[in-house]
């Protein structure tokens, strides 16, 4: 495989240097490196960040290929600077058997843009009644380690207890979608003064916070690890902070959109802003930023949720929940927490690469961009800005809340396993990437 020499990149710690990539790994980091056969990437003015790891992506395949496929979602991920994504289990059939998770993994490997790590359902059919074959999924070729009924809450307390215990048996983690179902029947947006005025059924913060409180206590009781998906309220941050102070093994994620957007956007009934959990108040956004900065919230995850246009081109109540987020994630993170001084780029590398990989037990991200580590990194231009538009999206979904907004930064190149998936700000074509992926896996297994 061709070597790649990245010239003059900036690093998260403000140092600068060249990166020589050979045989899928970072071979050398230093100044004035040379390799006559290497493909050159001029990274002057660009920031090299370790490949982003998304713990929460909806790739929709199998079953909802009109919304997204593993290939199209992988392309959206690569253009966003990601090198690993975790594919949520709410597919059709649900990813609750070894067969389905192996299929998702295989499709991801074949596409080659990112490492696709399937998430297994906690319960059969996401129905919250009976544990799915967690052991079979963990032992399958997909080696599933993260289990989630995301989209639905494991609301039954006994079942949640059992899931926490049983998943522990296989070294995995349950990622809970914290939403008390009875408190959110028909809910449409954050419950508060605005929901009352708009006449949209309220989604109270307590519906999220009460489940998180229950789950951290369950995790403590059984000694298990718990991951909380898309924390969205100030109260949730408080509960997680309290749990961590007590030594409970809990990790939490926040989405880029909950770090930037507020419930006011619902005022015009534009369904692009309809998302689960809902956009909250500005006080919540501030608490989420502070919680991410002080380590209460461990990671950022996109909850990339593509939908066909007709699912959003309608009245609010009828619209689907969700936003696409892979392509815009790093820009939104820069706007919401870097440019505001909450995080520096080292922190971003931690919360959007190293720690999500740790939680998902994905190897290769322990040391970031380091000699001997897999060459998974992205080159980002934080100094630019752009009016975000559909032309910047690469997945099938156009349900982005940022269309027409000005966002900072742009991904210029992404390397995955030592080959380029994005060059000069554009995706490398699917056939070349798939070929590179085949050569890499051949080298690894051959």
């Amino acid at each position: 495989m061709t070597a790649i020499l990245v010239r003059g990149a900036g690093f998260a710690d403000d140092s600068r240097g060249d990166i020589l990539v050979r045989d899928g790994v970072v071979a050398e980091i230093g100044s004035s490196l040379s390799d006559s056969g290497a493909q050159l990437i001029d990274a002057d003015g660009l920031l090299a960040l370790p490949g982003l790891v998304d713990l929460h992506t909806h790739l929709r395949e199998p079953g909802f290929e009109q919304s997204e496929t593993v290939l199209t979602g992988s392309r959206a991920a690569a253009i966003g600077g990601f090198t690993t994504v975790h594919a949520m289990a709410n597919t059709s059939p649900v990813s609750d058997t070894a067969g389905v998770v192996e299929q998702v993994q295989r499709l991801g490997d074949a596409a080659g843009y990112v490492t696709v790590r399937p998430i297994g359902a906690v319960t059969v059919g996401l129905e919250g009644k009976q544990l799915s074959e967690i052991g079979a999924m963990a032992g399958s070729r997909a080696r599933v380690r993260v289990f989630s009924d995301d989209g639905k809450c494991v609301s039954d307390a006994l079942l949640m207890r059992r899931a926490l215990e049983y998943v522990m048996t296989f070294g995995g983690v349950v990622a809970q979608h914290a939403q008390e179902p009875r408190l959110t029947e028909g809910a449409q947006m954050n419950e508060g003064t605005l929901s009352g005025q708009l006449g949209l059924a309220g989604w109270p913060a307590v519906a999220e916070e009460s489940i998180i409180a229950r789950d951290v206590l369950l995790a403590q009781h059984v000694g298990a690890r718990l991951h909380v998906c898309h924390v969205s309220t100030a109260g949730s941050v408080e509960v997680v902070r309290w749990a961590k102070a007590r030594g409970i093994q809990v990790t939490a994620e926040v989405t880029p959109h909950h770090l930037l957007l507020t419930e006011d956007l619902a005022s015009g009934y534009d369904a692009r802003y309809k998302v689960n959990p809902p956009l909250r108040r500005s006080e919540d956004v501030e608490a989420l930023r502070a919680g991410l900065a002080d380590g209460t919230i461990d990671i950022i995850a996109t909850d990339h949720a593509p939908h066909p246009s007709e699912a959003k081109d309608c009245e609010w109540d009828a619209a689907a929940f969700g936003m696409v987020g892979l392509e815009s994630a790093l820009s939104v993170v820069q706007a919401s927490v870097v440019d505001t001084g909450h995080l520096d780029w080292n922190d971003v590398a931690r919360v959007f690469s190293r720690v999500p990989a740790e939680i998902g037990l994905v190897p290769g991200y322990e040391f970031g961009i380091a000699v001997g580590s897999p060459a998974d990194f992205t080159l980002y231009d934080p100094a630019t800005s752009r009016v975000f538009g559909v032309e910047h999206l690469r997945g099938k979904g156009v349900n982005s809340p940022y269309l027409s907004a000005t966002l900072p930064g742009r991904v210029v190149a992404t390397l995955h396993n030592g080959y380029a998936t994005v060059l000069d700000g554009e995706l490398v074509d699917a056939e070349s990437v798939a070929q590179s992926a085949r050569r890499t896996s051949g080298a690894q297994h051959g």
């Binding site: 005025q197 006449g199 309220g202 009934y269 609010w316 109540d317 009828a318």
Partner: protein, 317 residues
């Protein structure tokens, strides 16, 4: 006025102007020929995704008195019930050449979506959307109050100093919301009374005072008591224990009726649950404006259709 989507968008002067046009329209009802040629050649579509015979025939009468062509589109039993989207329905109406669409929809904000979508260029009149607003109901209520208080001298007047107590399911009521915004911007002092379960979170930030006790509210001798309909589905979802207790605590029965000031008025948007939120004694008393509200509804809707289809005249206010 391009559309009428909510009373929250209406300023004081604009609201008074609409009520004044409605006075002109009411005069038409007293003539021998109750018809104006004003909207001849215009097509008004009544697009009803929810059944509401009362509101629909009121709009129909209003449009016909202005000589508009009226098409009634009931979503029940139509392509809509077979899954056709709001977008397709709107584009169909645009292709037919609708000049105004009067829309009743179960989803809050559906009229706003229609107005902002670009699917259809027609004037949009909100005839009740989900639990959001019912602006023509509030306008006809304000019109009714103004007429009761000022009689034939009502023109150009607002509702300064009038006290209005609205009782019942505030949480789910589009009538309550539209009335709170409109009556308060017209200068009335609005009080909301309901059990805490039927008051929305954040209601204390509305331009109204809020209380739980109907007796305490009535002791302040309000000029207007507006009773809201209790939907039967609320009784099965833990908002209150049963109809009997609701009626005892928040119903306007004969005893409470007797405590009202002699010139106070009792309103109800209809249809009424007699014996639940209002007794027959209250509904049929001389204080009751229930039938005036129905009659005034036609005048107010004539005014609204006229204004959205001809544009509000500059400087009218």
């Amino acid at each position: 006025m391009r559309h009428l989507l909510s009373t929250r968008d209406l300023g004081h002067d604009e609201a008074v102007a609409i009520l004044d046009v409605a006075e002109d329209m009411a005069d038409v009802a007293d003539r021998e020929v109750r018809k104006l040629p004003t909207l001849r050649g215009k097509t008004v579509v009544n697009l009803f995704f929810e059944d509401s015979t009362r509101t629909r025939i009121s709009f129909e009468a209003a449009a016909k008195r202005l000589s508009a062509d009226v098409i009634n589109f009931s979503a029940k039993g139509s392509s809509v019930s077979k899954g056709e989207s709001l977008k397709d329905t709107a584009q169909t109406l645009a292709a037919i050449g609708a000049d105004a669409v009067v829309i009743r929809h179960g989803a809050s904000g559906a009229p706003a979506v229609l107005a902002d979508s670009g699917w259809i260029d027609a004037a949009i009149v909100n005839a009740g959307d989900g639990t959001h607003e019912h602006p023509t109901q509030a306008l006809l209520d304000a019109f009714t109050i103004r007429r009761r208080i000022h009689g034939s001298a009502a023109r150009a007047k607002a509702l300064d100093g009038v006290s209005v107590t609205i009782v019942g399911d505030i949480l789910h009521s589009r009538v309550a919301r539209s009335n709170v915004w409109l009556l308060s911007s017209l200068g009335a002092a609005v009080t909301l009374v309901a059990p805490a379960t039927l008051l929305p979170i954040g209601v204390t930030e509305w331009p109204a005072s809020v209380g739980y006790s109907l007796d305490a509210a009535l002791a302040k001798r309000p000029d207007v008591v507006m009773m809201l309909r209790i939907q039967s589905e609320r009784m099965h979802d833990a908002f209150f224990p049963n109809a009997h207790e609701y009626s005892r605590e928040w119903g306007l029965g004969d005893e409470r009726l007797r405590t009202l000031a002699a010139d106070s008025i009792v309103m109800h948007p209809g249809p009424m649950n007699r014996g639940l939120e209002i007794s027959s004694g209250a509904a049929d008393s001389p204080r009751s404006t229930v039938l005036e509200q129905v009659a005034n509804g036609v005048s107010v809707r004539m005014a609204v259709l006229y204004l959205v289809l001809s544009g509000m005249k500059e400087g009218q206010s």
